[in-house]
């Protein structure tokens, strides 16, 4: 064996101590207490699974971000990429006979690598919840409200949830042929209005709405305005967001921004989807939404909606 220094650590490994630990633990305690109070049961899934479990849940694009190693029999294992995959597996097997909705929650580390940015942390602390078996608006509201509760429980004030619905852009994108559709998705993702305008100027019908709908961002009035000119196929998604808005209190609404321009989760989410932004953090500190197709991949079709928060990011800004 090559002798290494006692001090050496692998790239992307973290040593946390002192205040950094206290902040994370206090966030973890506050959020887990809020979850327990809301009737969510904690699961502690394994730290590693067969890699297929994570790819089955998250899609092929997560494959390069897994931290893998071979098992004794040669099968490939991966460190926990997310909790959702394991919870879906458990819900489809151990809890196969449970009737009614399942409310599950978790807290712990997930392991992800970014091959292009070798020095970034490869583990992060998450807390999250899944509500399985309930497809109605009430379930969506429950998860959004739970997310707001977490953040208040964590003592945060300056934060917002950017909330959208995959149904709003789906019809417009479906009207396009590949490879244009992939280009349009990329331009929407980059908020590149000029390239979109150029590509869509000669198209008609539902595709035209892609010039305006992705740039709709604001409070309820922005949704109302979008609704008045949106194609019929986008209406159901917009109506769902409007109904969700109507159910919120004024205090809750103050933290919600409707944002119809996020396309990253379109292959994963099937209804509402949202990201959490906190003043001072350069990236989203959590994400969630509805993924009704997830459980079918584990052999037990049932609706699902959930949220996961990145406690490291929250702890680093919430001083």
């Amino acid at each position: 064996m090559v002798p290494t220094s006692i001090a050496a650590i692998p790239p992307g490994a973290l040593d946390l101590s002192g205040e950094a630990v206290r902040r994370r633990r206090s966030l973890q305690r506050a959020t887990m207490a809020a979850l327990e109070k809301a009737g969510y049961e904690e699961l502690i899934p394994p730290t590693f699974e067969y890699e297929d479990t994570f790819v089955r849940a998250g899609g092929p694009e997560i494959a390069e971000r897994l931290v893998r190693f071979p098992d004794r029999d040669g099968r490939i294992l991966a460190l926990r990429y997310d909790f959702t995959a394991s919870l879906a597996r458990v819900a489809a097997t151990t809890f196969a006979d449970a009737t009614g909705a399942l409310r599950l929650c978790y807290s712990g580390k997930v392991f992800r690598q970014d091959p292009e940015r070798g020095g970034r942390p490869r583990e992060m602390l998450q807390v999250g919840a899944e509500l399985l078996g309930q497809s109605d608006l009430a379930a969506d509201i429950e998860i959004v409200r739970l997310t707001l509760t977490f953040l208040s429980a964590a003592g945060l004030k300056d934060f917002q949830i950017n909330l959208g619905h995959v149904g709003v852009l789906a019809a417009g994108l479906a009207a396009l042929e590949e490879p244009l559709r992939a280009d349009v998705r990329r331009w929407i993702d980059r908020k590149d209005r000029g390239s979109l305008r150029e590509a869509l100027k000669n198209l008609s019908g539902d595709a035209q709405a892609l010039m305006t709908l992705p740039f709709v961002i604001g409070r309820r009035d922005a949704l109302d305005e979008a609704s008045s000119s949106a194609p019929a196929a986008s209406r159901a998604g917009l109506d769902h967001l409007l109904a969700l808005d109507a159910a919120l209190t004024t205090g809750e609404r103050a933290h919600i921004v409707y944002d119809l321009g996020e396309v990253r989760g379109l292959d994963y989410y099937t209804g509402i989807h949202f990201e959490l932004y906190i003043a001072g953090a350069g990236r989203a500190a959590g994400a969630g939404g509805r993924y009704d197709e997830l459980m079918a991949r584990f052999g037990r079709p049932m609706p699902a909606v959930g949220v996961a928060l990145d406690l490291d990011t929250i702890a680093e800004v919430a001083v």
Partner: protein, 207 residues
Amino acid sequence: MTRLRIALAKGRLFEPAVARFRRAGVELESEPGRKLLIPSSDPAIDFLVVKPGDVPVYVEAGAADLGVTGTDVLRETNADVLEPLDLQFGFCRLVVATPADAPYPGLPGGVTARVATKYPRLAQAYFASAGRPVDIIPVGGSVEVAPLLNLAHWIVDLVDTGNTLKANGLVERGTILECGAVLVANRASQKLKLDAYLDLMERLERD
């Protein structure tokens, strides 16, 4: 007041970027000297002047809300940022160039070509997608002399007029990327500072 910090790249994109912001009503208050941060005529906006390759890094991390960068360094760093506006200046090309008498695209005797470049990721991806194995030599500058000094057989570099290539006896063999200046924005900042972002975008788009 919501403050916006804008990262500008030193070098060839600096003056045209300053001019573009001036036309949008945002004037730098001083020349970039040793000062890292330069205030502007708009009290809500200040500028950060950094090395060209660092602009995507600052913006992705949120140390700057917006930035002006070339698509060459943006694609090389593969930074996860918004690209809301093509700025229509700083046009150039990322090309493969070789000495005029050098064999291309293959070297005789099955020798693997060494390619010197400041863009190792883009160069590697270009040759790999064509199924041509090469040995990428990452260098920080003076790429065009690498063949003369026998460091590499070929180079991958940015070309504007082509004069530098010509002066070093090099000829273009293929284009990897058409490049130009773009405005980039941090993904979280665009959402948290939406009104300030939209206001500045509107002023820049009016150009």
